[in-house]
Symmetry: C2
Subunit: 629 residues, 2 copies
């Protein structure tokens, strides 16, 4: 049991004190050598790091997890770990912030016992909630430690995380605030007055105040927090630059390394030898230490696809809900865990059936999308298949930076956006998410799919469930008809398998091709039918993988005299640029035109809104005839 | 004085009660007619709306401001305003949520006395802080009222707004929470338990609890709040669907209109006539009422540009800081107000000089970017020139949805991002904002400019100061040399005027053209110089207006056998797609290649990071030689 004995021995305290002195020297050396970094907070957090890394259960099964939310204290983390023997002291010191080295400016996962890359303040407690939830779900006796700065407490996402932890009684989480009273711009009381204690108490947490440089107090607080009825926040009163007299309580040292004189004075104060030249020389070489990320994969039974016909009158979001429930049925009883997160929209995003059947695996995050996105992201890295379903405006517009940090963390999140595009209709422009394709295009590890009918939705959801990595799947709000083949069988029914990156040729044609996705595919089919009446044949292509070109399909499309993209999305950031790039590169000689959203949408019936934006079938037929005549 | 007399007369109460009954009928009719909308909360908020719209000072100079943060209660707002004679009852009822009508699903500015379009929960209190600050700065005796839902209280941004209001003693703001205890998914205590009172108290607010359907209590609370030493939150205990027995306290009616039977029963309960057929018929026609937005413009003296030479050793962000200070000098004493917002980064984003000179116009928002973005956005609409300077990761990645709502509100915000691109270097991937061009491309009313040297920065900042609308200007972190003309004079010095959309031909060439912006321009010049040594001439184009094609410059570039884009930005979402689109449309026959960031960056010296991503001069020269040989 970690923190089992009542208190530290004198010998242990002596050892911690000795390590702290050495680590402080390392911190000052590495930041001065790199010419950049954050020595002040690294030193004020250091003693707590040393105690935790010495006494928590960080290895083996059911191990404790650590999140360093104020990731800029990386020198403190590296030096503490190194002095405790988990990393080579000379390498972390010599190669801190050297391009390509694992000793990055903000802590990244892969550093021993570190499970979450950080750098954006305010998200760490939410990640901690995700790990604590994982431990709870797996019935593990593991604890989660989240270290934070005091300036960071100003971030609103923390209040969301606190309430989430209280709601789900995550007593296996302990937060520690490095309360040195300074942020970059000076005293936290001056920058943004805040009653941190009252904030935590008001959200149902317990507070333990300690001297953050007293090893026995730190130890006792960690020990006490491990057996609390509420989540605990340790408010560790610390001193920025502790132990180096001229640095103490000076915000200047938050983000500035020491100059030569200061450095020499500091080493003297620490009674340490000056090995700067040794490290400077070493930095010219190469590091050998390698990070090791603990990747936990999921082995999901993706079941057998459901096939719908038009008479089923099913919208795409309901198709998602049915497949999600089926995945639950196929897996949860067998011990393969699937979790679903909601932000007060279950009825609309159709996770209700899953929730009713598996209430223990359904998490209601409330109207707290920032926290929920991060909790879900962290949980998804623990070998649990994780879905988060929301409207586009909340699931990606509001939480873009949370998904960005998830992406940086190579999470395994399945993000489902039900309400996207002008298709959202009457709720109006704030709710019409017309940028999700463009936003996710920035995230290197996210794949985005917009299926065009319930059958493709079903197969897509099963595909992403069985495939590692982040996926964004958008379903749309309204019911779109089932797409049929010429032989009247469902296009995405028997014989169809979803393959990432593949385009589908829905209708043939020689006078031009129109490329669409989601709800615009069936409209494109209608457009092609109307043009056919005028003797014009239009090929209809479904580009459900909106960031990808299918070379096979596009190659044969190059012969078309006209190519159009047609999307319920900002025309500048949707598929148009993807297709444009391909056409230019492949020397397309025909005429290209992109159709999409060019203004924030009106509030009205979806068809009214489309008509105002001239994206309805009638306007499109007119526009295409004008171009193709 | 608004709310001057002590209490309402019986006659006034009788009138309010009568209006409330009629307005409830309107709410039920309009939502049923539209087949969509939120009757439940509209009815629970209604009585407070009626009191406020009756007794606040909403017209003339120094008028009070209103923000409806839970914008989905629009039927309550419309019916209250209409029954008080500010809008035509029959039109708001008939055309609610009809495509193109001003009676949108979520309240938009232009509706009488409404100054902020809403729909994204959690942002309204921040907007209110912006208006309250404007009133304070202008020394007006005006009050700001922010209405919110209770489920909405879960959003973290509210805690940021509360602290901001407390810090700046915004006692001229009153919040009112419609505390009906229900959100979409049911009881707020079930969805996300929260101690709203303790949350507000812990951030220094006062709480007044009232019966939200008792006109005298509502009136008395507004009156008391107007003379408080702290910002006040009125917690109005209400009943969802109040007055229609079968609707009361049923979350079902949060977002669902009544069916025919329910509607008839409700009208009976309200003792109202059924005019549904009249409205149904009317809806087929056209509305005549027009919204009117109170646009307050700024008349700024943009001063005379500063010209720097390389020996000044000035980085672009410092050039921004100097111009900002100069704008302050030229305007503030003359009564043209300029405000600057910071989130604990003043030293890095170089707003320190302005802060020292004009501390009353400098607002330190703390590490609360969501709140600050919205406060600044709202303030910018009040005739005050407003700058918000931040790192890219915080100023746009973290706050994308706040800027999106600002954009929808046609704010006049000048957003300066100092730290963007891999150029950020050692702070690593979380801080390297490589998506700002792509993100802002989604915002229809934002113009984005990335100047390439201190002289262009100066002229750009003066330009955006003098031009209405939202601008994003990115400066970069490192010092980039001054660009010179062939005659050794600064390229962007005397004789240069910034013109939005114009590209600059920095160097001539015939064998190819490279298009860059920001810090890559000087690198492109170096590349051209290195290629020149091998007998290859490369034209260098500066595309500082990253979303715009300059037809004149590009037309003559079409003759080049090679065109390259070169950017310190995600290669998929930067200028490459903009240039690609133009080249395809104009039948470019040469070879095009885009160079940009394809992976999250390393943590190291900027040049190391560029080299890893093969965007350094050496790698680029090699790559171009390979292509052009």
């Amino acid at each position: 049991m970690p923190f089992e004995k009542e208190k530290l021995t004198n010998e242990e305290m002596f050892k911690l004190k000795a390590l702290s002195r050495l680590a402080k020297g390392d911190i000052l050396t590495m930041t001065r050598l790199a010419g950049t970094g954050h020595p002040g907070g690294s030193i004020s957090s250091l003693d707590a790091y040393l105690v935790l890394f010495s006494y928590a259960k960080l290895e083996g099964t059911q191990r404790d997890r650590v999140v360093i939310s104020h990731g800029h204290t990386s020198p403190g983390v590296y030096s503490a770990l190194a002095r405790l023997g988990h990393m080579p002291v000379d390498e972390v010191t010599a190669f801190f912030r050297k391009g390509g080295s694992p000793f990055e400016g903000h802590v990244v996962k892969g550093i021993p016992f570190i499970d979450w890359s950080t750098g954006n303040l305010g998200q760490g407690l939410s990640a901690g909630c995700g790990f604590a939830l994982a431990s709870r779900i797996k019935k593990e006796d593991a604890h989660v430690y989240v270290f934070m700065g005091d300036g960071e407490q100003q971030k609103g996402q923390l209040s969301e995380a606190r309430r989430f932890a209280s709601k789900y009684k995550l007593t296996n989480i302990t937060a520690l605030i490095d309360y040195n009273h300074l942020q970059i711009s000076g005293s936290i009381d001056h920058v943004m007055p805040q009653n941190i204690i009252e904030n935590y108490l008001s959200d149902g947490w317990n507070i333990i105040e300690i001297n953050g440089h007293d090893y026995n107090e730190i130890y006792a607080a960690f020990r006490k927090a491990r057996n609390s009825e509420n989540p605990v926040c340790i408010l560790a009163h610390t001193v920025m630059g502790k132990g180096i007299p001229f640095m103490e309580n000076k915000e200047k040292y938050h983000g500035n390394p020491l100059n030569e004189k200061e450095y020499k004075d500091a080493l003297e104060a620490l009674e340490m030898e000056d090995n700067f030249e040794f490290y400077r020389e070493k930095r010219k070489g190469q590091w050998t230490w390698k990070p090791s990320v603990d990747v936990q994969t999921v082995n999901v039974d993706t079941g057998s696809p459901f096939t719908y016909i038009d008479n089923d009158k099913l919208d795409n979001r309901s198709a998602f809900g049915k497949t999600l429930k089926d995945l639950g049925d196929k897996n949860i009883a067998k011990g393969c865990t699937i979790c679903t997160f909601d932000c007060d929209l279950a009825g609309s995003v159709k996770t209700g059936d899953f929730c009713s059947a598996y209430p223990d695996y359904f998490f209601q995050g409330g109207i707290q999308e920032h926290n929920t996105a991060t909790v879900a992201g962290a949980l998804s890295t623990t070998g649990i298949l994780t879905f988060f379903a929301a409207f586009g405006a909340f699931g990606i517009d509001e939480t873009y930076n949370q998904e960005r940090l998830n992406d940086i963390n190579h999470t395994n999140l399945k993000l489902i956006l039900t309400h996207v595009g002008l298709d959202v209709g009457p709720d109006g422009k704030t709710h019409q998410c017309i940028d999700y394709v463009g936003l996710s295009r920035n995230l290197f590890n996210f794949k985005t799919i917009v299926p065009c009918d319930p059958n493709q939705v079903d197969r897509t959801i099963r595909y992403i469930a069985g495939t590692e990595g982040n996926f964004l799947v958008a379903t749309g709000r309204n019911r779109w008809p089932v797409i049929y083949r010429d032989d009247k069988k469902p296009f995405f029914g028997d014989g169809y398998t979803f393959e990432y990156g593949k385009m589908d040729t829905i209708r043939g044609g020689r006078d031009g091709a129109i490329i669409a996705y989601g709800g615009m595919v069936v409209k494109a089919v209608k457009i092609s039918e109307e043009l056919a009446e005028k003797g014009i044949t239009l090929k209809v292509i479904n580009m459900s993988c909106v960031h990808e070109i299918d070379n096979d399909v596009m190659k044969e499309t190059l012969a078309q005299p006209h190519i159009f993209t047609y999307e319920d999305h900002n025309v500048f950031t949707g598929i148009a640029p993807v297709v444009t790039g391909y056409l230019l590169k492949n020397g397309y000689r025909g005429k290209f035109e992109s159709f999409g959203v060019k203004h924030y949408g009106a509030s009205g019936d979806t068809e009214e809104v489309y008509a105002i934006e001239r994206l309805d079938v009638e306007s499109m037929v007119k526009a295409l005839l004008e171009i193709m005549k």
